[in-house]
Symmetry: C2
Subunit: 307 residues, 2 copies
């Protein structure tokens, strides 16, 4: 899909990439601050946490938190920390998913995976500690002075990332090949594994902004459509891109016999479906008018990215 397919001029996609990069820099600085190295030998686990977190990811989830919070003029000092917490959850899930007992991947973002750079035990602990740290950050008064908001943030992130969300999705992913998932089951898997975290990122921006329930619902709808489009784009990339482009192993879905929208319907229909989902995501932002421009660009970017 070209940027124009998504109804977005290429110059605004360039502007978006710039804005995404600037937010990523801010998030990286925040993550760096939040993960100081201790003195004792236990620093090894923090080194592993830093290795897998400060590694040049796109920071799409933190961007969604920040851009959603921007709709309500939430100070960036808050939204960046909340974005960093969401990224910690994302990074822990990547560390654990890459383990030999799980997807057994050697490469991630162009570098050895955590258990290759350190060892399995340290990687399990680094994932556990990142997951724990995310909630430490959310509950800190530095992340928002209002107790009610902090508590809602914890509830939202725990709900989206646990057994009824991301972890449940990863469980389904491990079972998918054996259980011969049909299209509906595959979509549910992906909604849990990837969609929930993207949607909750948008919702958390709304929670920071004390958005009314119906506004949160629109942000959630945007995130759900974005997540589904993102997943199709990911599967297209997995099928088409080379390992060097992506900095991780590719063609693994096909090798594992996993049914995806792409494998079931082919790349042509998949691109069309992704476009429809982007349109739906954009439509959910109607109430926000011009202020939601960067979230609209994020939706277009999601399906135009090459890595």
């Amino acid at each position: 899909m070209t940027p124009n397919d998504a109804g977005l001029a290429s110059h605004s996609l360039r502007a978006f990439r710039k804005s995404l990069g600037a937010t990523a820099n801010d998030v990286n600085a925040c993550l760096d601050d939040l993960l100081p190295l201790p003195e004792g030998p236990e620093r090894r686990v923090v080194e592993a946490m830093r290795y897998s977190t400060l590694d040049g990811g796109k920071r799409l989830r933190p961007f969604l938190v920040v851009a959603s919070a921007d709709l309500f003029d939430v100070p960036r000092t808050y939204s960046l920390r909340i974005g960093a917490a969401v990224e910690m959850i994302h990074c822990y899930s990547l560390i654990h998913d890459d383990l030999p007992a799980m997807d057994d991947d050697d490469l991630r973002r162009g570098r050895p995976t955590c258990h290759k750079a350190f060892d399995e035990a340290t990687s399990i602990l680094a994932g556990d500690a990142l997951l724990t740290k995310a909630f430490a950050v959310l509950s800190s008064v530095d992340s928002h002075p209002d107790d009610f908001i902090r508590s809602k943030l914890v509830a939202a992130l725990a709900d989206a990332s646990g057994a009824e969300g991301m972890v449940g999705g990863q469980m389904l992913d491990l079972l998918a090949a054996d259980l011969d998932f049909d299209e509906q089951q595959t979509e549910r898997l992906q909604a849990l594994k990837t969609g929930r975290m993207l949607a909750v990122s948008c919702q958390m921006g709304g929670i920071l902004g004390q958005a009314e329930p119906e506004v949160l619902k629109d942000l959630d709808a945007y995130g759900v459509c974005l997540g589904a489009a993102f997943q199709i784009a990911d599967d297209l990339l997995d099928m088409e891109a080379s390992e060097a482009d992506l900095g991780k192993a590719t063609g693994k879905d096909e090798a594992a016999g996993k049914a995806t929208f792409v494998s079931l319907h082919g790349p042509g229909r998949a691109r069309k479906r992704a476009k429809t989902l982007v349109d739906q995501a954009v439509a959910a932002l109607d109430r926000f008018g011009d202020t939601a421009e960067s979230l609209r660009a994020a939706a277009a970017f999601t399906v135009s990215r090459r890595s």
Copy 2:
């Protein structure tokens, strides 16, 4: 050590065991409620969570939460849920510690460990999901109506169980044999790995009771001494008890060349040290008078237990 060594008549130790058992039953019912099985195939991860949680542990940490909260007349409906959340963290740590890449244990509480009963991938995910669920429970209004208290509970538990607490201690434990830890380093390892979670259990009871900082400090001091005594008792059991008594592998510390107080100073001095620590724990409860009887009994129990 006999119960009398700890300055406690054997009838009050019997009464304590009864009270511990009753709280365990209530905590088990609460855990059962908090971990309902979903419909989809992702139920496998919840089955593993339930397998490793509803397995007849002593529930010492939840007992400490409940008994500390009782000092302030906190309704049990709150303290039991908070105790269940702490137990979820404890159980996740056991699942992950037992993994082949970590301590590689086949037995836990007399049954196959999670990865033996299920598989490694499911066990990693079950641990992750339990860790996440603990924070979902803490942030729920059903656990306490006051946002400030819920937020403090999340902060306290995240702090005690992360890289600066329990996970840091497990990292040290994995490094201990290679780094040839001296006594001080071993005590620090144990304080992080075991002590912090016992101490935070007591503190969380105090947080529920809106205790003043100096009162929380006393509860913390009690928990720290209790934790150190508990660890010595654990190491004595590891050295002396048979595998059948403990329901898990024994003699592993010695085999792994880990320096413990027991291995460094022998069982005689270790028992004496445990008694001193119990006395210190009890002394920290002075301000509470008779209301703290069950916490005093818990301290004595800690070093008298046979499993």
